[in-house]
Symmetry: C2
Subunit: 356 residues, 2 copies
């Protein structure tokens, strides 16, 4: 599965979109993990040419995206808008780089593996287009825990509800929540119909409704039959990552006034009978998962504690009272770390044969 190393003896990495929100977290994560890379080349639009960004404690000059920047690159991480990825990922791949793309452009392409290193590392082996895709943040915040249980029990059906943080909608989502929180602080708002809406005004940022003192049962664009694009994405990606193309999945995505860390409640039905003891053992030993589950002692994950950390946190593990094959549990993960840049970096490390 390893690719040839670059001229330094260590592989050369390119980060395309290094100046963006996802790219910025990517550079932080690259700076804090074991240093396995030779050159790290930073790429963005011509607007950013000549800017210097810090990675691994060094200042590196940003190059403008062009064919030649991929010369000698072993792995190229793409953190750019869908249409830029769609155009440039094949060019980088043609130049011999393995592309790991963080956009939505290739996730459902049958010739592009969708990879979560803890769950389906084997999928990396077959990448006919030289491109590997990173799942969306909502899928990534639950799939490591769900995948560990699936490996043991075989998932038969999933019902999920999300509690999604505003940073999943980028910097604009965070700014919107912070602005609205300032407008409602110190008031009696939230008690009369429409009072929050009147106070925050028409500027609801990337959200269709006020998000402070509120929850908004909508994320993404409208799809057929009343579903949102975010709900369809979680369904499609879960099926693809778990290798179960016909798995029944019902998801409702809801935005909540949390800055960072997505949570989900999961009702997962398996092929055979489950026990809480065994499920807890699986979760406690699964790589990338932290089991934090003793509600009597106040132990369950919440976004306030999970933000800024790498693993998927799991709590509230219960066997369904009326179905010995089903588990109900609560998962929480940082949508900017495992939900995005961290998983991309892990895939890149796996591509070059380093330990993820």
């Amino acid at each position: 599965m390893a690719v040839a190393a670059g001229r330094t003896g260590r592989p050369t990495l390119a980060v395309v979109g290094a100046t963006g929100a996802a790219g910025t977290v990517m550079l932080q994560i690259l700076s804090h993990r074991a240093d396995i890379w030779g050159e790290i080349r930073l790429i963005a639009s011509p607007r950013s040419t000549g800017r210097k960004l810090a990675v691994r404690g060094e200042e590196v000059e940003v190059l403008a995206l062009a064919e030649e920047v991929f010369d000698g690159v072993d792995v190229a991480l793409f953190d750019v808008p869908d249409e830029i990825a769609e155009r440039w990922a094949p060019i980088a791949a043609a130049k011999g780089a393995v592309v790991v793309d963080n956009s939505g452009a290739f996730r459902m392409d049958p010739e592009v593996p969708l990879v979560v290193p803890e769950v389906n590392p084997h999928a990396l082996r077959v990448r006919p287009r030289g491109i590997v895709a990173n799942p969306s943040c909502t899928t990534l915040c639950m799939i490591v825990a769900l995948g560990a249980l699936h490996a043991e029990y075989g998932l038969r059906e999933l019902v999920a509800s999300s509690y999604q943080a505003v940073s999943g909608a980028g910097r604009a989502g965070v700014d919107t929540l912070r602005r609205q929180i300032s407008l409602v602080a110190g008031t009696e708002l939230g008690t009369h119909p429409g009072d929050v809406r009147r106070a925050v005004g028409d500027d609801t940022g990337p959200f269709p409704e006020p998000v402070a003192l509120n929850v908004v049962p909508w994320a993404g664009e409208a799809r057929a039959d009343g579903w949102s694009s975010e709900e369809m994405t979680v369904r499609d990606e879960t099926r693809k990552v778990l290798g179960r193309p016909t798995l029944p999945v019902a998801v409702t995505c809801v935005r909540v006034p949390v800055v960072t860390a997505h949570s989900l409640t999961l009702h997962a039905r398996f092929e055979s009978e489950v026990t809480v003891a065994k499920a807890r053992e699986i979760l406690a030993t699964a790589p990338g998962v932290v089991l934090f589950d003793d509600p009597g002692a106040g132990e369950f994950p919440t976004p306030a504690d999970v933000v800024g950390t790498d693993p998927t946190w799991v709590g509230r593990v219960r066997r369904a009272l009326d179905d010995p094959t089903a588990l109900d549990f609560f998962v929480c993960g940082d949508n900017l770390r495992k939900g995005s840049a961290l998983n991309t970096v892990q895939i890149a490390e796996l591509v070059v044969g380093a330990k993820a």
Copy 2:
């Protein structure tokens, strides 16, 4: 089903616990509905004797709870702590009043009907103890919509996740959220592990974790096998109100930073195939339900719009993509109105034969 009217020709009502949080909303609701009552007698602890409270535009003096205050009372609404209700409801009933109790003391008593006027008004007929119970707020915020679909299709299984407002934990819950919101407003909090917790300090009020910029997957006390009392309550009450004592129900209760109005995502599986068109027709015409469901046009209920209103709002109605017998939808209701005082008043009106 009607009881005898009092001496004025109109029935006499007593409100026990009139000075409390639930009692206060009760007096507001009584003041705004069609006036069917003769005397309204207000009762609280001896601490409140002589206080005057406004109801129907008049100042009424509060009486201390004692056997004699139930003389001539037709219906007594109880809004007092469980242990006070447990002791005094049978006394009021022995005096000939029909007690409608808003506490948790009698909800699961097999000799006490648990009533939602739009769903199971017939249950009122058999009340051997002279006591009728009001369900908890979380059940009440979903059950009118669910009950309408159940009447048509027959519910076979329910998976629910809640997004519960802090006022479900009383005045202390609201004060806690408001205080925490003031502490996080205008800051960068919510970005680093534990930063919200450090900012709000140890005083998390009635909640086990900070609730501002957070979601807390816990409500109530610990029950067997990892379940919370709130989750068990929703399950037990749903079964009892729908008259399906063995219905499979899996609930996860989560507290969110919303002042008032509980929301739930529901995945409901029925006895037979459903269609969205028919389901929407049922919901659009069901008494006590408002269908608000055109997400492409930004129409779905959120707590900010639902707070302060009487109905159960429903949106995001979809048929499960992999199960033609299941519907996924989102419900939202005011936990202090339909979720509490309003349903109690509606039961009382039904007891005396007025239109609910």
